[in-house]
């Protein structure tokens, strides 16, 4: 079987994120990290490949991303974490794609691979939370489940667990399927130095929209069905008091005084 893992480069959590006031798009110039949730998806792919989720013959784990040239760094990280090769969908026409257009483009790139299982992180640090997996699944006409925290493979059936509105749900899904995973599903491994060094030697294929048979009119701004009209600061909220703990006794005194002032203790 073949597993495709959707990955994404996101702004480093420690870097201030901003919206470009000219384009009203996220300023992606400072990006440098693989979306942390995607490392769980990659790890899960490796767990399946290593037979730890039930008997499985995995021929290949392929990391797939969409984004500008810099997004290749996410792919290098992905192959250093175990993916066998990677696919980079990159085209100027994709810039400004909303969820609708992004999902369509990724689905087209995935169609070329005919995966038996598509894994992705349940959310990205930069926004398109929860949705891309379900969009991609509908385009691929595959069953799908998001926020999965446990999965076991039995033949071509995947038994998944997740938390939903009323408690834990257990769901059985026939492959091929699209599964987005939560961070409780596993502890991602660290890449070895050798794997990091070898990452650039693993095959990386770059696809244009023509290569993926995507119409230019269905992606980018033209293909988007939402329009960001403005980006405003949130309503003023009085910012809280911050104490840096240097002397813990002093800190606790301050906290207690704060609590007493509000009659909370």
């Amino acid at each position: 079987m073949k597993i495709c893992v959707l990955v994404k480069e996101v702004p480093d959590a420690a870097v201030d994120k901003r919206i470009d006031p000219g384009t009203l798009r996220m300023d992606r110039s400072g990006e440098k990290n693989l979306n942390p949730f995607d490392t769980h998806a990659l790890e899960e792919a490796m767990q399946v490949k290593e037979g730890k989720r039930g008997e499985a013959q995995v021929e290949e784990v392929v990391a797939v991303t969409m984004g500008p040239e810099s997004a290749q760094r996410a792919l290098h990280k992905a192959v250093s974490l175990g993916a066998d090769r990677s696919v980079h969908l990159s085209d100027d026409a994709l810039a400004g794609s909303d969820v609708c257009a992004t999902g369509l483009a990724l689905a087209q790139a995935l169609k070329k691979e005919s995966p038996d299982l598509v894994l992705l992180g349940q959310q990205s640090d930069d926004g398109e939370c929860y949705t891309i997996g379900a969009v991609v699944a509908d385009h691929l006409q595959m069953p799908s489940l998001t926020q999965v925290i446990k999965m076991d493979l039995n033949g071509s059936t995947l038994r998944c667990e997740r938390q939903a509105e009323y408690g834990y749900d257990t769901v059985e899904i026939e492959l091929p399927a699209v599964i987005s995973v939560g961070d409780a599903i596993n502890e991602p491994r660290y890449p070895s130095l050798k794997a990091i060094m070898g990452a650039k030697k693993k095959p990386l294929e770059t696809l244009s929209i023509a290569d993926a048979q995507i119409e230019a009119s269905s992606v980018g701004e033209q293909g988007s069905r939402t329009q960001v009209l403005a980006v405003n600061p949130p309503p003023e909220k009085q910012s809280g008091t911050i104490i840096e703990d240097e002397d813990t006794n002093e800190t606790v005194e301050k906290v207690l005084a704060w609590l007493e002032e509000r009659k909370l203790v």
């Binding site: 901003r18 929860y130 969009v135 938390q163 939903a164 069905r225 980006v231 203790v265």
Partner: protein, 325 residues
């Protein structure tokens, strides 16, 4: 007419979800402003009177797909797509929650429609709906409009309040839905299983909540002791519940409970949106975290940047001493 369709989630007993009722109330208000009508969609064998009663929240019509199972998104996407295609709804609204995200996203693909998620408010501008969506960890609000129809709006948890409006009785319309081949390939084995001990966190005046920053399950003792000192209760984030450190009944956030105690102490919790939506109405929020960049420091009332393993035992002693005095 610019009509709005709302998905009504229900549990196995047929009780409608509070967030769905909120979305229905919001849709009824918005439909009034744009000159349209509000309809609800329910799946499963929900009795006539329960459907009709949705009129009280503003539904004029209730589309009922009896043969479609509740709980998994894809069959419901089939049902909603059919109702929208047959009736030409201009907008689709979902209350917060996992299933709404999945259904809304699937509809986006199916109908080539625009979607906005985590929406906290919806405004009417020149007869059209504009969704307000916080972005970048709530540091900015994007105003999002739609190109073409329908526009799909997925609310943030608790964004919309359920309001009864004397709307009368809704008309019930049964719809036949043919499921897509891929919609039948996922099967619910068990729904809504409760795991772990029952804990009551909704009635506590003081809650001490623990997150991944505690480091390991055993460290929940720090929360227990501090909560005891206050006479309060202990709660947890989803991450540590999923990791098995704390029972599900004590989980706060998107898929857990929503609380608003007098004092909320967050220990080792980064404050991701999924957690924030379950506790942001607390009267006083105190956060202890070693990461000065943790989002929780942007919305807490008192933030302590430091090692909780050092701070919590001393704070517990100090609170005990104060209360014993």
């Amino acid at each position: 007419m610019p009509d709005i369709l709302v998905y009504m989630l229900h549990d196995d007993a047929g009780v409608f979800n509070k967030n769905s009722l909120g979305a229905l109330s919001e849709a009824a208000k918005l439909a009034g402003e744009i000159g349209g009508e509000t309809a609800a969609l329910v799946v499963g064998e929900i009795p006539d009177d329960a459907c009709q009663a949705l009129g009280a929240y503003g539904a004029k019509k209730v589309f009922r797909a009896k043969s479609v199972p509740e709980g998994l998104a894809q069959p419901i996407i089939d049902a909603m797509a059919k109702v929208i295609q047959d009736n030409g709804h201009s907008y689709v609204l979902f209350g917060g929650g996992l299933l709404g995200f999945e259904i809304g996203a699937g509809l986006t693909a199916r109908l080539g429609a625009g979607v906005t998620m985590e929406v906290t408010e919806v405004h009417v501008r020149e007869g059209k709906l504009v969704a307000m969506r916080p972005v970048l960890q709530d540091s900015a609000i994007a105003e999002v409009g739609y190109v073409g129809e329908p526009g799909i709006i997925i609310g943030r948890l608790n964004a919309f309040d359920a309001v009864e409006r004397n709307g009368g009785s809704a008309e019930v319309v049964d719809v036949d839905v043919e499921l897509s081949s891929w919609s039948t390939k996922a099967k619910m084995v068990q729904r809504g299983e409760q795991r772990g001990a029952d804990v009551n966190i909704e009635d506590a005046d003081v809650l001490v909540a623990g997150g991944r920053g505690l480091g390991e399950a055993e460290k929940f003792g720090l929360c227990d002791e501090l909560a005891d000192a206050f006479g309060g209760a202990v709660a947890a984030t989803r991450a540590v519940v999923d990791a098995g450190w704390f029972p599900y009944a004590g989980q706060i956030g998107q898929t857990g409970k929503t609380v608003a105690p007098k004092l909320y102490i967050a220990a080792g919790i980064s404050g991701a949106i999924q957690h924030k939506v379950g506790m942001q109405s607390s009267e006083n929020i105190v956060a202890i975290n070693k990461d000065p960049n943790a989002p929780i420091f942007e919305f807490c009332d008192l933030g302590i940047v430091g090692d909780l393993h050092k701070i919590m035992p001393k704070l517990t002693e100090a609170v005990k001493a104060k209360r014993d005095a």
